[in-house]
């Protein structure tokens, strides 16, 4: 049994963590926590950290003792610099809480890249953990809607940079912009996206702790994640009716199943495919031909099959990326955003010059 730590930082991280904890109950009911037990195979510890107490209060499926409030009036806004200070102030408190929970086999830290708290806490936290612990730590990072503004784009760019430098064992991307297809209003889009992320992670955790026909384990996962440019994403598809396994694998690699826009056959460097379902769907030929197709363009493909009676076929793919066109595009606009923000700041500074001009006549009266 694996010991797994999942941390959600900031509003986005908290909410996704809550979605994971809710889905772990195995029912979508609001009363799940009263009706069921979480069906984690592993020893899973979850921690939500936030500067904004309201975000923590909004959670309902994460135990109170698993919510850490690092007090700072009204959160940190979207200011990563303020966030970093707050983390610095609360570092001991947070580290103590985590370390009291013992040692882990793997940790995931979830955050949005563009906010204030999560995006500033996560790199620092990972850095801190990496120094004290020796288990792999992966960041699950949510990229902003592109229209959310220059400040968010700027934050996202710096956050990703900070993360790469934090010593994390991999960054798993989920892109709000890409997942916008979920539709509905922002709130329901958030919930839908959070749910997608939650299900993928839970599936992964379940798989890592399951008996598999073709071996994939945490070691393999680590191997996959260490490939490429340290950037990864996850694809998933669950058949809702009888469907050839080949088609399910394809779907899991298609935009419909992925969390981040990528052409797996073009950009992936390593991958892992986990197939789950009733034995009758597990046509080895089909699986092999699909996996071969992928491995011919991707270097290494790990595959695992989990037999679950009466389950429709489901496929999870983990892809590490060599290159990410989408990320480059993001950085392109982020640079624009950074320049824009810089100019604005200069403008504001020059306004202050204007203030100086005005202040010259402070205390004087006009004489006629």
């Amino acid at each position: 049994m694996l010991n797994i730590l999942i941390i959600g930082n900031g509003q986005c991280g908290n909410r996704i963590l809550d979605a994971i904890n809710r889905d772990a109950f195995g029912t979508k009911s609001r009363f799940a926590k009263y009706l069921a037990h979480q069906k984690y195979k592993s020893n899973v510890q979850t921690i939500a950290i936030n500067t904004a107490v309201n975000d923590l209060k909004e959670m309902s499926f994460t135990k109170a003792k698993d919510r850490i409030h690092t007090p700072h009036l009204h959160g940190v806004g979207a200011n990563r610099n303020v966030g970093k200070h707050v983390f610095e102030d609360n570092k001991t408190l947070i580290m103590k809480n985590i370390q009291e929970r013992g040692n882990f086999d793997v940790a995931f830290v979830i955050t949005s890249a563009s906010g204030g708290t999560g995006s500033s806490f996560t790199p620092m936290l990972i850095k801190e953990l990496k120094q004290k612990c020796n288990y792999p730590i992966y960041a699950i990072v949510v990229l902003p809607f592109r229209e959310e503004g220059t400040l968010y784009l700027q934050n996202a760019a710096f956050c990703l940079k900070d993360l790469r430098e934090s010593g994390t064992d991999g960054i798993i991307l989920a892109d709000n912009q890409f997942l916008k297809q979920m539709g509905g209003n922002v709130e329901s889009a958030y919930n839908g996206i959070n749910d997608m992320i939650a299900r993928r992670l839970l599936f992964l955790l379940d798989a890592l702790d399951s008996e598999m026909m073709m071996v994939t384990d945490l070691g393999d996962f680590k191997t996959v994640m260490s490939g490429g440019a340290g950037i990864a994403t996850i694809g998933f598809y669950e058949a809702d009716s009888e469907m050839p396994i080949r088609a399910v694998i394809k779907k899991a690699l298609s935009p419909e199943g992925l969390l981040f826009s990528t052409d797996a056959y073009q950009e992936a460097s390593r991958s892992m495919i986990i197939i789950r379902g009733d034995r009758k769907y597990m046509s080895i030929d089909e699986v092999s031909s699909e996996v071969e197709k992928l491995s011919s363009s991707v270097g290494q493909v790990f595959k695992g099959i989990i037999v679950r009676n009466d389950e429709l076929p489901q496929v999870l793919t983990v892809l590490t990326l060599e290159s990410a066109v989408e990320l480059e595009k993001l950085y392109a606009i982020a640079v624009e955003a950074i320049n824009y923000e810089k100019k604005k700041k200069e403008r504001v500074d020059s306004m202050k010059e204007l203030d100086k001009a005005f202040s010259q006549i402070d205390g004087m009266d006009p004489s006629y």
Partner: protein, 419 residues
């Protein structure tokens, strides 16, 4: 009268015309024979007298008398072959002088006819020797019987004196008078002082005491004495309507002194939950005039209620809560309480069977009286937690434990997730 006279005239005229047109007298022949001078012929209250016969003239004087009046209503000098008419009770009587016979005694032959003779009393029809002065007319005696009592409100055992007298207020003697005086039930005839023996005659205008006797009242109540009746005839033997006396009403009051126990039975509430308790009270009061003895009150407890104790005055005798009081004076009162437990749902009434003895001051032996007292309906409803209690312990304990556990769990979880 005038009018009546006119009518009569008219009728007579009409009849006359009728007779003329018919050519001869018609109707029933009452008499077609000779009458001696001085004799008469009676038709009910009328007497046709041949007053004087004039043989040489071939005529006769004929009088018609009505009743006892000595003055004739008709005084006719009739020639042989002639006739005259008069009216009796609406019918025409025609008298025709047929012939005159002379000899030692003078006689006249009369033909007397009547248009319809159905009204004629045969007892007063026929020849009257000596004529009108010897005729007997039917009279109507009227008997009035009066019954008097010397008291009309008495006590049981008291005696009243009854007197019955009769007065003949009619115009004739009452003959063959036969009295009858059935004694009223509820009374016993004590003594008879006067009573008629057989048939008697009550003369016109006579008043006579016919009965005198005394009666004893045997039981309380309001009673009407039977009437004394009389049947009688007039002098010619006609039966007259039965005469009846008045019927005095006698109120007979109870003279005995009784004990009268008023036993009331009440409970403190008439709607009770199953397993609930009721308090009952038996109130005994002697509202009579004599003290009671051997007072026994048996409390009948219906199934569904259970007697669960009471005052020391209540003893359980062969399963029945019983109160026994040796004696209970006039106006004495006693209140006895007891408790009941409602056992089963339903509607019940509680009752007591009461009995006691007393001496009434009349009868030498003591009297027994009994009564029953019943409460209003008592409703036993399902108790609040009855459905629980009806079940064995585990049946309600288990859900309670489950509810407790669930509540505990919910609270625990709520606390666990409340930030």
């Amino acid at each position: 009268m005038k009018h009546f006279g006119k009518t009569l005239t008219f009728i007579s005229l009409a009849v006359l015309l009728l007779l003329i047109s018919a050519g001869s007298a018609s109707g029933k022949i009452l008499f077609n024979d000779t009458l001696l001078e001085g004799d008469g012929f009676q038709i009910n209250n009328y007497v046709i007298d041949v007053a004087e016969v004039f043989s040489e003239h071939g005529a006769a004087t004929i009088y018609v008398f009505e009743g006892e009046s000595a003055t004739p209503t008709h005084d006719k000098f009739v020639s042989v072959g002639s006739s005259f008419k008069f009216t009796v009770e609406g019918e025409d009587v025609e008298v025709t002088l047929i012939s005159i016979h002379s000899g030692i005694a003078l006689r006249a032959k009369l033909l007397i006819t009547v248009t319809d003779g159905s009204f004629i009393n045969s007892k007063t029809l026929g020849e009257v020797k000596g004529g009108h002065k010897n005729a007997v007319f039917p009279k109507t005696p009227v008997l009035e019987i009066t019954k008097t009592v010397d008291a009309d409100s008495i006590m049981v055992g008291d005696v009243i004196n009854v007197k019955v007298s009769v007065t003949n207020s009619g115009d004739g003697d009452a003959e063959k008078v036969l009295f009858s005086d059935p004694t009223s039930a509820k009374f016993v005839l004590q003594q008879t002082l006067i009573s008629p023996s057989g048939q008697t005659v009550i003369k016109k205008g006579e008043t006579r005491l016919i009965y005198a006797y005394s009666l004893k009242a045997t039981e309380p109540g309001t009673f009407v004495l039977n009437p004394t009746t009389a049947i009688y005839s007039n002098s010619i033997g006609d039966d007259l309507p039965q005469a009846s006396s008045n019927t005095p009403t006698i109120i007979v009051e109870d003279s005995s002194k009784k004990a009268n126990l008023d036993v009331t039975l009440v409970v403190d509430k008439y709607t009770v939950d199953r397993r609930g308790n009721l308090q009952g009270t038996i109130r005994i009061k002697n509202i009579g005039e004599s003290s009671a003895s051997a007072v026994t009150v048996n409390l009948a407890v219906p199934t569904g209620l259970k007697y669960s104790g009471g005052d020391s005055a209540i003893e359980i005798i062969s399963g029945v809560p019983t109160i026994y009081l040796e004696s209970f004076g006039v106006q004495q009162e006693k209140e006895i309480s007891f408790n009941l437990k409602a056992m089963d749902e339903g509607t019940y009434t509680l009752s007591t069977q009461n009995s006691y003895r007393f001496s009434d001051g009349i009868n030498p032996t003591s009297q027994v009286a009994s009564s029953t007292s019943v409460t209003n309906a008592i409703y036993v409803k399902k108790g609040k937690y009855d459905h629980l209690l009806e079940q064995p312990v585990y049946v309600y304990l288990a859900p309670l434990l489950v509810i407790g556990a669930v509540a505990g769990w919910l609270f625990y979880r709520h606390r666990q997730y409340k930030f």
